[in-house]
């Protein structure tokens, strides 16, 4: 990886070079070095396989320049970047690209400026919040993390007396169709940023590890999941593998559920899936500007049960998604989104905040006068993220959540939540949760794919067979029908997403479930 000192020097040099250009009115320079090291896992007892299927990495570093150029037709905003090179020549090329790419965006106000009131938090506390073991990971150590998960899962299956009994003997356990799939992902990222408005170079450095594992006993239609998200390698023992294996065994003998309306408990993964695909996209300033949000025109209004509070916390120590600064050089921090059911604030970056503050239709879109409620639009979430491994120099800032917390007003435990439900369904994993009529309509559907159970008499009594139930609803209806939220949450990073959802379990009434795929019983 490129050192922080090298990134810092390049940013200083680039800002100097950009500032010397006579046509540059404002400039912002970011340099980053980001690695995503990954082992994809695939073990199948009945099909020839390789265990660690793909030990691989995606690595990049470089420099990006956003600049405002003066011209005869007014100011023009441009962005240019260079990959794999931080030399003065690369800086020249990036600046030239920014000039060439510049456009006259009449809604642009300025590049980010420092917040009027200085944050009391010291961002420097987070800067060293990284794990040297991940920063210096060798190829051998990367591969070992993958095998650790496979071994933990196989150990759990091998140790189970009941599984051996079900198979007929220990030697016949493979005939149950043991499957272990998923990944171990290690992220390491360094950024340095400075601008005309914030000339002192700010840096940030972070590491974390996530692992998402699915284990199955195919012949029993039994599926279980395991998750890990930790900031330090030493905290990872491959437990995502053993958890998935335990949950797969717990799912043996799954039942079908008749179509109907049920009271359900949504486990951490479904809560996370709903957050990532429906709720958070509706809570971004950009969704309000473009009239797409399910909560359009409802700032300061009740949008959910008074039991529900949601906030984003980008600066919490020890949290997986924490960052010292945004990718616009602004402080991260806590953004209250929904408090006791009332929509309080939005996730935003500097551009979208300025755009809404100056939008003649801003009052209609938000439901309040944005000029009088600027605290609902603080740009704490401007990040430059890419599927190639999080923070990247070569993309302009968009809006992304960091660590999202979902909390309830009453301190429920998983057991007390089960007692509230009394008779219903525990839904532990869903799939393909999409807004079928667009985000604003709020209608959604998904299928229940595993980790789910029947609840009778306030207790979990039997597993539900995966891929046999479709859940359909409206997100507004669901948020208003919340019965309770547990006070225990676990970090979930959904496939293909960046934010970490600290997801509790949530009980909801009047949820429509439909039985599907009956034909599979005879396949």
């Amino acid at each position: 990886m490129t050192s922080l000192a090298t990134l810092k020097t390049a940013v200083k040099r680039a800002l100097r070079q950009a500032s010397r250009a006579t046509d540059v009115r404002e400039a912002e320079v970011i340099a980053s070095s980001t690695d995503h090291l990954l082992c994809r896992l695939n073990y199948t007892s009945g099909i020839p396989c390789h265990g660690v299927e793909e030990p691989k990495s995606s690595e990049s570093f470089g420099i990006g320049i956003r600049a405002i150029f003066t011209g005869s037709d007014g100011p023009r905003l441009g962005f240019g970047s260079e990959t794999g090179d931080l030399s003065p020549a690369a800086i020249r090329r990036a600046l030239e690209k920014a000039r060439h790419n510049a456009t006259a965006d009449s809604e642009f106000v300025s590049l980010p400026t420092p917040p009027a009131v200085k944050s009391s938090r010291k961002p420097a506390q987070l800067i060293r919040c990284y794990d040297p073991a991940i920063m210096n990971l060798t190829d051998k150590a990367l591969v070992e993390t993958g095998w650790r998960v496979i071994q933990e899962a196989l150990k759990t299956f091998t140790a189970s007396e009941s599984l051996a009994e079900l198979a007929g003997s220990r030697d016949r356990v493979p005939s149950l169709g043991v499957t272990v799939g998923g990944d171990v992902s290690l992220y390491r990222q360094r950024i340095a940023i400075a601008s005309t408005h914030m000339p002192k170079v700010q840096t940030d450095e972070s590491t974390y590890l996530t692992s998402s594992v699915t284990a199955m006993l195919e012949n029993q239609h039994a599926k279980g999941s395991g998750y890990t998200a930790v900031p330090h390698l030493s905290k990872f023992k491959g437990e995502s593998g053993s958890e998935a294996a335990r949950n797969a065994m717990r799912a043996i003998g799954g039942h079908r559920v008749a179509s109907g309306t049920y009271t359900v408990i949504l486990g951490p993964q479904p809560v996370s899936d709903l957050m990532v695909n429906l709720i958070l996209p509706s809570l971004s300033a950009e969704a309000f500007y473009s009239c797409r949000s399910a909560f359009l025109g409802e700032l300061q209004h009740p949008v959910a049960s008074p039991r529900l509070t949601i906030y984003d916390q980008g600066a919490g120590r020890g949290l997986v998604g924490s960052k010292g600064i945004t990718c616009e050089g602004l402080p991260t921090g806590r953004t209250s989104l929904i408090t006791n059911g009332v929509l309080e604030g939005l996730l935003s970056n500097y551009y979208e905040t300025q755009r809404l503050l100056h939008d003649p239709h801003g009052r209609d879109k938000l439901g309040i006068n944005p000029q009088e409620h600027a605290d609902a639009l603080v740009p704490r979430n401007g990040f430059r993220l890419s599927s190639r491994g999080r923070r990247q120099f070569d993309v302009p800032p968009t809006i992304a959540a960091t660590n999202v917390f979902i909390e309830g007003t009453e301190p429920h435990t998983p057991d007390s939540l089960l007692r509230i439900v009394e008779n219903g369904i525990y839904i532990g994993r869903v799939w393909y949760t999409y807004p079928l009529n667009g985000l604003r309509a709020g209608d959604f559907t998904c299928t229940v794919v595993g980790d789910s159970y029947l609840i009778r008499g306030g207790r979990i009594i039997a597993p539900i067979q995966g891929n046999t139930v479709r859940m359909t609803g409206n997100i507004r209806h669901l948020l208003n029908n919340i019965l309770g939220i547990t006070n225990q949450a676990r970090p979930i990073v959904e496939w293909g997403t960046d934010e970490v959802i600290y997801a509790p379990e949530i009980a909801v009434k009047d949820v429509r479930l439909s039985e599907i795929a009956q034909f599979m019983e005879s396949v």
Binding site: T103, S185, P396
Partner: protein, 526 residues
Amino acid sequence: MTRLRAAKSLTVESLDKAKRVAVDLLRETRRRQKDCRYVDLRIEIAESKSACAENGVEKAAQEDYLFSFGIRVLAGDRLPSPGYYGRRLSSADLPHLTTILRDGFKHAYDRAIANARGKEHTKKQFKILGESLTGLTLAPIEVRQDTIKAECSVDPRSVPLSEVSRQTVDVSRAVKSLGARIKFNAISTSTGLSRELFTSSEGALIDQSFATTLGFCWVVAENDTAEQALYDYIGHQRGWEVITEGTRNPLIRHLDLLTFATSLGRDCLRLLDAPPLRATDKEVVVITDPHYNALLAHEIIGHPTELDRVLKMETAYAGRSWLFQDLNRNQIGRQIASPLVTAYSDPGLPGLGHYIYDHEGTPARKVIHIDKGIFTGFMNSRQTAAILGAEPNGSYKATEASMVPLIRMSNTVFAAGPHNPERIIADVDHGYYLVGHRIPSIAESRENFSISAQKVYEIRNGQVGQLYRDGGMTADTKDYLMNVDAMGTDFRLTPIPNCGKGQPLQTKRLGNGGPTIRSRARLIGR
């Protein structure tokens, strides 16, 4: 322009130099490294231009290049295993490419060796459960050296960025001018030329170029009682003419971006005045148009016939396939659809899914998935073909060279049938006509689907009548396929520019299609 040329010191022609370096290095590497069984290398250079506009306002424009490489090594003594390495590069890296690639080989090789040791250790430790851990083999292919040129009338490199931006803004302004009920619109365009080199230790040397152009439109409309948001794409493996003139290929037909986007805007406005569709508890007759069936083919034919997913490699991500439980229990050779249904993937068809060789140098060929209702086979890679004892069919593709390829659709389609599409509607007493795909939600093994439509019309006595918004259909896949009783002659291909798969997620452009189809399903609605 002169200054930008200096800034853009890398072009697709720069791959000529990389080609010589790659071939020499590959030969040397396999010879030198102990237990190295196979190596392949992909290098890609792409030049692209793009622009976006919102509500008639210019938002961003970009002209840039992409230079990246990816290496696969199979190495190990008793249980050869894979190791991968990929990276994006700079124009300044070109003179140092030998050193950079050598370093990449070392990483991939070290990972493969560590992987082989981990596999041997685990196999010993778990004995019975370790039996399925095997050495990786690649099914044999005909090793080729070939060069494929891109096809286009207006070379993407010849279009000034200012022109790309101007046309994008003009389209956005035109959509805005449709009226005050249009609350938001976003238009984006991109055009580019990419050149991909594949070389392997078996002696393959494939040099393929592609021109690709896409246009995207997203419209939000609102009145006092309703809102509607629609989005759609045009796209083809051609030059800038895709945006300015549209495409009039016998299999791909779309309008120029201006006409296309304003037409979508008008649809959005019409839908504001339409009532929402009510969901049904029972099945009804559903007729779906070729655009809707493109996404249907994508979700219920394409994805479940990707052999990596079938062999459980995507269990934790994109899911498995109901067509295959294990090597002994699967649907190969069984009837899964009406005899009217034939479905296949064909990289030889034009459009976003067209290519001649995949990313491991396998000559790409048509794969029949369903032949007159009988399930016949999967898309595969050399690794997965070896497991099933099948012949590789060239379906292993990556979004860019630094990423590890996955099994991907090319052009996956329902074949045309014998029925006149107008008669398919006219023969219905009561049913629904679903036009244009919108948003899918598919069950994990693709055994059930729910896909919303842009527009739904009620059919009464063979006539298309009342228009509804916010509707679609849901069904169990096999039931839907078995109930098909008409397949139209009006086959069309539709671009799908955003298919997500893999970890990390790769977003791929491909083609899907089909004719008008009649079957039975439940309606979804509000």
